[in-house]
């Protein structure tokens, strides 16, 4: 008899997800009414806020439910907060962009909510099946969002490329899950972790192959080389706020799943650490080197996001609680300043005819001194300069690596982050040290855009000077399942 007692089915565990889903449904049904249609961003914001509040409420109160399929510990909550905050920021600065491009449709906000919900599902389970479902709930809306500018050929292309590559990667992931299931008899990571030694000699190979294929599936999502090729194209082609959304939430969700699976489930697999080592080095190096010669800022930030995934993968190669909490910290930090930079690019793109080429920034410091100062801060943070949070993140990451004895990996990482300075500061150089010919279209700030810039700026600098609280949070997240 199936256990359907109240203890197992506890809707309070998935309340943040339900809130988001409700918001999405209201938006979808509201297409009947013109007035309601315009309220879509408001409904989405309300849904996200409710979800955020519930998630914060869940902190420090670990629960398991739905026959062990859903786990809500501090790790989950921390990631949920990250997803919701990033979606909220995107909502705040995206609207004006869509209006200016004439693609503002209520569906976007519903998709945003559903996708965010998918990320939450990914982070709040220890079951591979549910992780897979979460991944798909997150991804399918992403494909649509990438291609949402129907008239733009670039956006079309980004959408179809993302979809096919994404489905392709899902195929590998699913095959990996099948192998793991076949060799261990379960898809629950807790049972795999407990019975790890139980896997017989004969099944070891299946299990290894399954682990690798699973890794590939998530490596695709977090944009690790050589599974990264979709990133630059999709980032460049998608509407800018959507690109901003891609670069934070889905990536963090991918890392959350990787953390669960490889740091908790398959802890004792020696060769996985080697694979992470190789991936980290490749990802950092290829991302940075390819970013060097990019003329389009969105594409440059795409490669930069690949490179940052490489830094985070360093933590996976090292393993252990210090490195893992450094990874969580870095995800938060990266989310902040990356969203900040995208907000500025969005702001600039609202001017007509702007295609976010680097050359369009020249002389920005004279026309918009504050905007270019903010851009400088974000670029410095991306490059890892003190006293921004980017520096603390990298420093924390690399000290963990040094402590773990990964000296060469650290040296490669530091070298790479210095190469990266070159292209980040090129943006600063162009906006400060190059003359602008032509006339400037004045930029109007909406209050929401202003708020986003101030929040990300304050976060980037403030958390660089007072990182204590965020460090505690990221440690709490990791200790939740150690």
């Amino acid at each position: 008899m199936i256990d359907t007692t109240a203890a197992s089915i506890d809707f309070s565990i998935i309340a943040p997800e339900i809130a988001l889903l409700a918001a999405a449904f209201i938006i979808l049904v509201s297409v009947y009414n013109k007035k309601m249609r315009n309220l879509a961003p408001v409904i989405a914001t309300a849904g996200l806020l409710v979800s955020l509040l519930i998630a914060i409420e869940q902190m420090g109160n670990p629960k398991t439910g739905f026959f062990g399929m859903v786990t809500c510990d501090d790790f989950t909550v921390v990631f949920k907060i990250l997803f919701v905050i990033s979606s909220l920021l995107i909502l705040m600065f995206g609207r004006r962009y869509f209006v200016s491009k004439n693609i503002d449709r209520p569906e976007f906000y519903a998709l945003l909510c559903i996708s965010t919900m998918g990320m939450m599902v990914m982070a709040s389970t220890t079951d591979l099946v549910v992780i897979f479902l979460g991944l798909e709930i997150m991804s399918v809306p992403l494909y649509v969002m990438a291609g949402m500018d129907k008239r733009s050929l670039e956006s079309n292309e980004a959408g179809i490329k993302y979809l096919i590559m994404g489905a392709f990667a899902s195929g590998f992931l699913l095959m990996g899950i099948a192998f793991i299931f076949g060799s261990s008899g379960t898809t629950d990571l807790r049972r795999i972790a407990a019975d790890f030694q139980f896997i017989g000699e004969n099944y070891q190979l299946y299990f290894n192959a399954g682990a690798v294929l699973t890794l590939v599936g998530f490596a695709f999502k977090v944009a690790a080389v050589p599974f990264h090729s979709w990133v630059p194209d999709v980032y460049q082609g998608a509407p800018t706020p959507v690109t901003a959304f891609f670069s934070v939430g889905p990536k963090a969700a991918g890392f959350a799943a990787l953390l669960r699976i490889f740091n908790f489930g398959f802890e004792d697999m020696e060769f996985i650490s080697d694979i992470f080592w190789m991936l980290a080095v490749l990802t950092m190096t290829v991302g940075n080197i390819l970013a060097l010669r990019q003329g389009n800022i969105k594409r440059m930030l795409a490669y930069s996001s690949i490179a940052h995934a490489g830094y985070i993968l360093v933590a996976f190669a090292v393993g252990g609680s210090a490195a893992m909490s450094a990874a969580v910290f870095y995800l938060f930090a990266y989310g902040l300043f990356n969203l900040g930079s995208f907000a500025i690019i969005t702001q600039l793109e609202i001017r007509s005819g702007c295609k976010s080429e680097l050359s369009e920034l020249s002389g920005l410091s004279k026309a918009h001194p504050y905007l270019s100062a903010a851009l400088t801060v974000f670029m410095l943070a991306l490059a890892g300069f003190p006293p921004t949070v980017g520096f603390i993140g990298k420093f924390y990451l690399f000290t963990a690596a040094i402590d773990g004895g990964f000296i060469w990996l650290t040296i490669i990482g530091v070298l790479n982050s210095f190469i990266s300075v070159y292209y980040y500061l090129r943006v600063v150089k162009v906006s400060f040290l190059e003359k602008f010919e032509g006339t400037f279209v004045p930029v109007k700030y909406t209050p929401a855009m202003m708020a986003v810039l101030l929040i990300t700026l304050a976060g980037t600098l403030g958390l660089g000077i007072f990182p204590e609280k965020l460090l505690e949070i990221s440690r709490a997240a990791i200790f939740a399942f150690l």
């Binding site: 290894n208 599974f227 020696e270 080697d274 003190p386 000290t399 210095f418 070159y422 040290l433 440690r475």
Partner: protein
């Protein structure tokens, strides 16, 4: 005052915030008042804390002040904390004092510039970062200032971005600084890994226990830190950015690229001298690089025609002296020279700025001459500074340079060869500085009529700082007179608590010191003075009497063919037997070593990376099927790895 050290850096930060946030909304008068007032205020505070420190007994002259905890994870703690000890108190005096004078000077110098507010905002931000660098009580916080000054320097070099060369100059500064930062960070990681802390005090206390004297790790850490220092302080081969940095406004060159930022490397090495004492091999590297850089840069300085570039190479050369001092473990001598150099080099730059100002922007000395009578104050102060840098007895430069030379000869880590490097450099320094002086202020007036009609002495805002610095350039050295003069060396005594008293590690290094006594010291001192005198005499004969001959000579020496053709010039002047090969050698160093080799190496590095990038981009064809192919290949490799394992 000593309870509130944090106000010293905080004041310039406030100035930056006010000027930066209200950009273009404040009248020039208010901007300059805020900028100069904050730096002046922090100078007064520095002075007060210096005096308070002085009133304490020597052993207790150490104040650590923690603002708040920055990072604390497990047993790893880093604070935002300031450290006031004899060393940092001296440094903040130099930074705020010279900085204040340069701020004043800038009020006059930049008065017609459209980017007035922006300029002062950067300048204040720089002062703040520099003070953080100097006052930080741990490596990480120091790194904050370290990167901050680098960034300000980058922005200020490109301040006049209408100049194409200015924004190009930033690129080289950029690459060099990254190499330096790499050394600094990796060195820092090694220290953290071994010692478990980044606090200067803890590192100094624990280093002798943790590290094996002369061991690989400590040597590696010290050399890596030196790479960082060499990047910041323009030592071979990372010096190439400094001459290009002269594209910025002249007061910036005076403040950042002469008096303060470029000395950060020297300061950092003295800060961790307890570690360097444990690594004699690293010290030897420092000494050799310092000595060779001193000689190399001085030689190149001989043939430069741009007034600011002469001073730039001179700065590199003087920084080489400081590293030479550090390399022979004469840390207080290094800091002493750092201080006197800040006075006279800032003065030289400001004087040059005054000349350029008067000449309507002309920087080429071949089109100057005879400015003595038009710019009396500038000339007077410039002359004093030239005497000081040349090491004329009783001027500040004499004492500091002499101490370095003596230590290079006699210290446990010293060697006559190291001394010889410094000795020859002293002669060259006098020669190129007097060449500069004669070409600029004496001889025929070679400028065109239009420029000539505009020549005028600079306004008071500019001349007053010149005069103050001139006084300092004379008397600044008197606090550090050598023992043989029968007086106490106050400077050395002041710094004693921060310099490690550890005896040299066993075996020291492959060079053996000559040692020496008082008679030897006097003899060396006299020989230096005589060499300097000879050099000045040669410069006088060549450049004052017949400047036009010298010019044509330098031009003709550019190809060996011409050298042979014009042999008859040799008889025309005294000392040509030495001067001719010297100029020839100098041109060789400049054109071949500097421009072709080191510059080429750095540019090649950048080109290489860009080339790799360009090649790798072609894999990203835009075609989905090739992406899928790359994907599948990746999967195969990973699975193969997993199966083989």
């Amino acid at each position: 005052m000593t309870e509130n050290i944090y106000w010293i850096p905080l004041l310039p930060l406030l100035g930056f915030l006010v000027n930066g946030l209200l950009l273009g909304k404040l009248p020039k008068r208010v901007v300059s008042l805020v900028a100069c007032g904050t730096v002046g205020g922090s100078f007064l505070l520095s002075l007060m804390s210096f005096l308070e420190l002085k009133a304490m007994p020597p052993d207790l002259r150490l104040i650590e002040q923690t603002l708040f905890s920055w990072i604390s994870s497990g047993d790893f703690h880093v604070n935002f904390g300031f450290l006031l000890d004899p060393l940092s108190s001296l440094m903040i005096l130099v930074v705020t004092g010279v900085g204040f004078l340069i701020h004043l000077y800038s009020v006059g110098y930049m008065s017609h510039d459209s980017g007035y507010g922006r300029y002062f905002a950067y300048l204040n931000l720089f002062t703040f970062s520099m003070l953080v660098l100097v006052l930080a009580d741990n490596f990480l916080f120091m790194f904050v200032g370290w990167e901050g000054v680098g960034l300000c320097s980058y922005l200020l070099i490109g301040f006049w971005f209408e100049k194409k060369s200015a924004s190009d100059a930033g690129k080289k500064a950029f690459i060099v600084n990254r190499i330096g930062d790499f050394g600094f960070l990796i060195g820092m990681f090694i220290i953290f890994w071994q010692v478990g802390s980044l606090d200067f005090m803890t590192v100094a206390a624990k280093a002798p226990e943790v590290f094996v004297a002369g061991g690989t790790l400590v040597t590696a850490a010290c050399i890596l830190l030196f790479v960082g220092a060499a990047g910041k302080s323009a030592q071979i081969p990372l010096y190439v950015w400094l001459p290009d940095a002269m594209e910025g406004p002249t007061p910036v060159s005076a403040l950042i690229h002469a008096a303060t930022m470029v000395t950060a490397g020297v300061y950092m090495i003295v800060r961790v001298n307890a570690m360097y004492i444990l690594a004699p091999d690293a010290l030897l590297v420092v000494a050799i690089v310092g000595g060779v850089t001193a000689l190399f840069a001085a030689t190149i300085g001989l043939v430069q025609n741009d007034i600011k570039r002469v001073l730039a190479y001179s700065t590199i050369s003087q920084l080489g002296y400081m590293f030479l001092a550090c390399g022979v473990a004469a840390f207080s001598a290094g800091i002493f020279h750092l201080m006197t150099h800040a006075f006279f080099k800032a003065l030289l730059f400001l004087g040059a700025g005054s000349v350029i100002h008067a000449m309507s922007g002309q920087q080429d000395m071949r089109y100057m001459g005879g400015l003595r009578k038009y710019l009396p104050i500038t000339f007077g102060t410039f002359f004093i500074a030239t005497l000081a840098i040349s090491g004329i007895p009783l001027m500040s430069g004499f004492f500091s340079k002499d101490e370095i030379l003596w230590k290079a000869f006699s210290s446990d880590y010293g060697h006559p060869i190291l001394w010889a490097l410094g000795f020859i450099t002293a002669g060259l320094t006098a020669f190129y500085m007097f060449r500069l002086l004669f070409l600029t202020f004496y001889g025929k007036e070679r400028m065109d009529e239009k420029t000539k009609s505009h020549i005028h002495e600079s306004p008071k805002f500019m001349t007053i700082p010149l005069m103050v610095l001139a006084v300092l350039a004379v008397v600044g050295g008197w606090i550090g007179m050598p023992h043989i003069f029968g007086v106490t060396n106050y400077f050395e005594a002041w710094l004693e608590p921060v310099i490690s008293s550890a005896k040299p590690a066993v075996g020291v290094h492959m060079l053996t010191s000559a040692g020496g006594d008082t008679a030897m010291e006097l003899m060396l001192m006299f020989s230096t003075v005589i060499l300097v005198g000879l050099a000045i005499f040669a410069a006088f004969k060549i450049y004052n009497k017949r400047p036009e001959v010298a010019d044509s000579l330098a031009d003709r020496f550019k190809t060996p063919h011409n050298v042979l053709l014009h042999k008859y010039y040799v008889d025309e002047f005294y000392g040509a037997v030495i001067v001719r090969p010297l100029i020839y050698f100098s041109l060789f160093l400049w054109k071949i070593m500097d421009v072709l080799f080191i510059d080429g190496l750095l540019n090649g590095l950048a080109k290489l990376y860009e080339g790799i990038s360009e090649t790798m981009r072609s894999v990203q064809t835009g075609r989905l099927r090739s992406y899928a192919t790359v994907f599948v290949i990746g999967v195969f490799i990973l699975i193969a790895y997993a199966v083989i394992e």
